[in-house]
Symmetry: D2
Subunit: 235 residues, 4 copies
């Protein structure tokens, strides 16, 4: 069977604190994943969130809440158009960046929306994350990021987290030559497996026309449908 | 399309600290999910891990490392035979139980194993979690539990975490009548959606003969296969 | 012994996503703690961080890194002048707010600074946190917040986290009358204990002239002092 | 001023999964801290928790709940006699060990106890942690461990977490010569600072006769004392 991923779209959002005028180590590692996807004919878009004006808040459009400008509706359109979302983030004090936290808050702010099957809006999409730091925290940051994505409706493939950190303590970062990070076999393997697992999962969901709707429609639950849920209390 | 989940097997492991001679609130909530699965003709097995002798350690069989007895090989067989694993756990001080932590360590201890496609042993399986406490911590416990499962090879469906907690502070637990927990609409909905999402995901993977292997075989990577991974460093 | 806390200064920073034109539930709970402090003659200052312009980034003053405006130097001065810092934050998807994450990144950005004993700049100060949400996550958010503060040099008193959440699922928030949150005995007790424990700790440190410096001076370590540290390796 | 720490007692509990017949990397790093304390004339006791029989459960003595044997009362006596508790733990899948989780559950199980001032039993004590792994997670594990200790009543000094991990991916562990871990300047400095900060904090509390009791007595709160807490609701 020849695998064809050319009908898939992936959005990579880099949540570095630095705008595009500066070097991003996280972008360095994200590039490996993007290159694989491009070689597999996937449509790839990449943005840095800080290049946009994204106010704090939980409204779908914060200009309706007093903000002067809000690029979120534009970003959300990209997210909604993509089959796969890969969140990239640096680690600061063991946590994902404030920009990544802001991204997740804004994603969450859309959660009243449903798709045409009545499911939460992110159902049918696939999510992963790429993390870099110079000392510690890939797994913790991945826990938080992947949790949020699945809670919002994304499907999470096996090993959907890839990252690089150095030995305990401050030190060179991913792109710094002396880190030797590009030769880290573990990071390269995880990045590769993550990338292909995102593609396989998105492909399965695409073939199914999204995530199957029986038993998980927010709208139908609201209308009283319970499928085979039965509360012992009610018997 | 009539959905048929009767070819699926699910293992529910309750990581309560209490053996089967005692009441488990977590079991109370797990039962809702098990009942849906049984009504959908899924084969369901349920165990409490503390009913077994599971030594601390990372070896596949700790009797080879000095333990007098180890029931883990028996538990692992059940896990390996099941398409779906649902980890149930209470919350203590905001964390999953020590028994759940032990379960994940023992799962991790098998990670040198691969399946017949050369993938990590848990590839092709689907995971979720059910959490109860009387005050706080569903999301944090779910982060840790679902992270571990996906990192080991499980696929995580949308909204694969369900749980119940009461208001801040000590108070009645899930099965205590005065908690009113069984009428918590949010918990019931999440439990229902989680259950169906586990079934849909497992069904898709079953139809595919497991998780597709291209680009994620541990064995092939070890043999030097890199698919479309290309390290800018090597160019 | 009559306790006198009148020589202490506390800064409360509310990391709500909403500026001062809007209601903040977190402010509601923070007020209980501020009232106790004022009754104890402590000097109290309260700010909402979003009322200020705080760019993303790790530089002490981001205008030197291209930002148009940066109020951080002003905020840092307040932090530096205070004996106690109380971070207030709402919970979104189980995590502290993006604004709280930003605050911690900016605090971290000052960590090259040392005090006149050569210790990290936050040594001698005392930290705590106040957290509100409508469903889940006080402990997780407190873990992250208190960890960061202690890692930066703050001393953390016993039970330095207080919070309120409702039962699992969406629902009324702290200030909503139907939440009954103000009568939550557990929240009131924790808020009271936290407040007094911050005062006792800050008072002890004030009496000592800051955190004692032997064995923890960044400057002396840099100069080669090792006190009684001896690495078995070097023997 | 000559500092004298000779009236202090420290208990180091190593939560490795391996009993004393085996090598523990975590013990390797804990030894550096113990050596400093011994050089400072502190009374030091060290145990590995897995050398004892500690059943799962939340009762102060699990033999009253059906367990055949429970060494916890013995361990608790050691904890109660010590001014300082240092929890050592390895990292597995980014989390503290199941043994460390068990320790915290058992500590929590004593939280109904109060001291002679009516405070929670751990008030007046000082806590820290030492963490080793070969790839990732010091900060996350420290968050969880230090949070639990402070929530139970321990005071947490500045920089009370020390640890060592290697670069991302599997690799040599702390004691393995090829790790070079003993020469990690950052780990050595953090271990030194943590050790002295524990001593200073414990010394201050010892001089005060424990943690000052005004405003934090569980017993007095239960009897209706509210100090300067005043609920706006009640006005």
């Amino acid at each position: 069977m020849k695998l064809d991923f050319s009908n898939l779209k992936t959005l990579f959002i880099n949540c570095t604190l630095k705008d595009s005028s500066k070097n991003s180590h996280t972008e360095g590692l994200m590039t490996l994943s993007m290159n694989i996807m491009r070689a597999e004919k996937v449509s790839v878009e990449y943005i840095r969130l800080v290049d946009y004006t994204i106010p704090f808040g939980l409204q779908p459009d914060m200009t309706e809440d007093g903000a002067e400008k809000d690029d979120w509706p534009l970003i959300f359109k990209k997210i909604n158009d993509a089959d796969i979302l890969v969140v990239g983030t640096p680690i600061w004090l063991g946590e994902k960046s404030s920009v990544a936290t802001l991204l997740i808050e804004r994603l969450y702010g859309m959660s009243a929306k449903t798709n045409d099957k009545g499911q939460y809006i992110y159902y049918g999409k696939t999510g992963g994350c790429i993390i870099t730091g110079n000392e510690d925290g890939i797994k913790h940051v991945a826990m938080s990021t992947l949790y949020a994505l699945q809670h919002l409706g994304y499907t999470i493939p096996p090993q959907a987290d890839a990252g690089w950190i150095g030995e305990a303590g401050p030190g060179p970062s991913y792109l710094d030559e002396e880190s030797g990070a590009k030769n880290n076999e573990f990071t390269n393997r995880n990045t590769t497996f993550m990338t292909y697992n995102l593609l396989h999962t998105a492909s399965m969901l695409k073939d199914k026309g999204g995530f199957p709707a029986y038993g998980n429609s927010r709208k139908e639950w609201g209308d009283g449908t319970r499928w085979n849920f039965e509360n012992p209390e009610y018997r």
